[in-house]
Symmetry: C2
Subunit: 172 residues, 2 copies
DNA sequence: CGCCTGTCCTTGAAACTTGAACAAATAGGT
DNA sequence: ACCTATTTGTTCAAGTTTCAAGGACAGGCG
């Protein structure tokens, strides 16, 4: 239903997508859902968890003491705190993450990557990287990779106006 | 954990992502999850259904008699038949879709867009198009839009080797 | 101090998704 | 006609996500 007229937009008519824009949008939708499904299955099969959970472990692995406050981890992963809460509960049951109280703020919780969690990453990361390469990077020219990065950067910033990047948006 | 070494890959070491590739991949992940969430909320709020369900209605609206076989609709939307089965059950309860038996194949079912379904599309499509524009097209140059289309086309085809496009792959 | 107000995180129920298992029907031989 | 393999769509159970609500604490202010 982005599909309707191709003519110009008279007054209050919504500005429909052009034929070319529609092609782009559909390609985007198809590619992103196929890729997400593909990686979800790959990781579910090889690591026993969905892609987003894997991303949480990665986030923790890269954090200072393999630990992050729940809110930070949620922001990092672009998910709600509620969703994270459930996810960490599940990862805890699997033994890959452990919770710890924050000493300085009694409301706070740290999610901590366990040794088992690190181990599962070590074991499955290579296969995952390969999957990402095969599905994405191996198919694109260097120019396309660069372009993709720029585009996605723009879109992400548009939807999440903050998140200090290379430049400081609040100074402009 | 795509993150590990930045040095060259010795023998059997997996081929980790370069720093630049990592940036691209993260931007991709962030942008796609933010956009998906954004549109899901937009449509849940304005149309009372998630994005993928909306896509199903659009698919039906564009089909010959506002109807499609379950399997075709599933392929169109890039989802499993199981998921579609649940989704159509829900859309049926909402009154936007109706099922019809296929006369020529007694196993078959058509999903048919009802008048109420068409009406909900008419009512909500403008807002949805606007959301897509604001989040994506309005932020990209024409060159970037073109590039994005090409890239996504490549990725989609890589993950779904068939789906007749402009050329006929089985003839090559 | 005592009282707001906001932040941090969890909970519970409902909605949605997944994968395997299944019944019914068709298609393809033999 | 017959037997097998495949296709079609559904169902079940388990897992995940969402949204609204709520409990606990922190920070600021009179």
């Amino acid at each position: 239903m982005e599909t309707m007229n191709t003519a110009s937009a008279p007054a209050d008519e919504p500005q429909w997508l052009t034929a070319e824009e529609q092609r782009v949008w559909r390609a985007y939708l198809h590619a992103t859902t196929l890729l997400e499904d593909h990686l979800d299955r790959q990781l579910q099969r090889d690591a026993g968890m969905p892609h987003i959970y894997y991303g949480l472990l990665v986030g923790l692995a890269e954090a200072p003491h393999r630990r992050l406050r729940m809110t930070e981890l949620a922001m990092q992963a672009k998910i709600t705190r509620s969703r994270l809460s459930h996810a960490v509960a599940r990862l805890e049951k699997s033994g890959w993450v452990r919770r710890e109280d924050c000493p300085s703020d009694k409301r706070g919780q740290f999610a901590v990557l366990t040794d088992a969690g690190l181990e599962v990453l070590r074991r499955t990361a290579p296969g995952h990287v390969t999957a990402v390469r095969q599905a994405l990077f191996d198919r694109l020219t260097p120019e396309q990779q660069k372009s993709l990065g720029e585009i996605m950067q723009i879109v992400a910033e548009g939807l999440q106006p903050n998140e200090a990047g290379a430049d400081l948006p609040w100074l402009r």
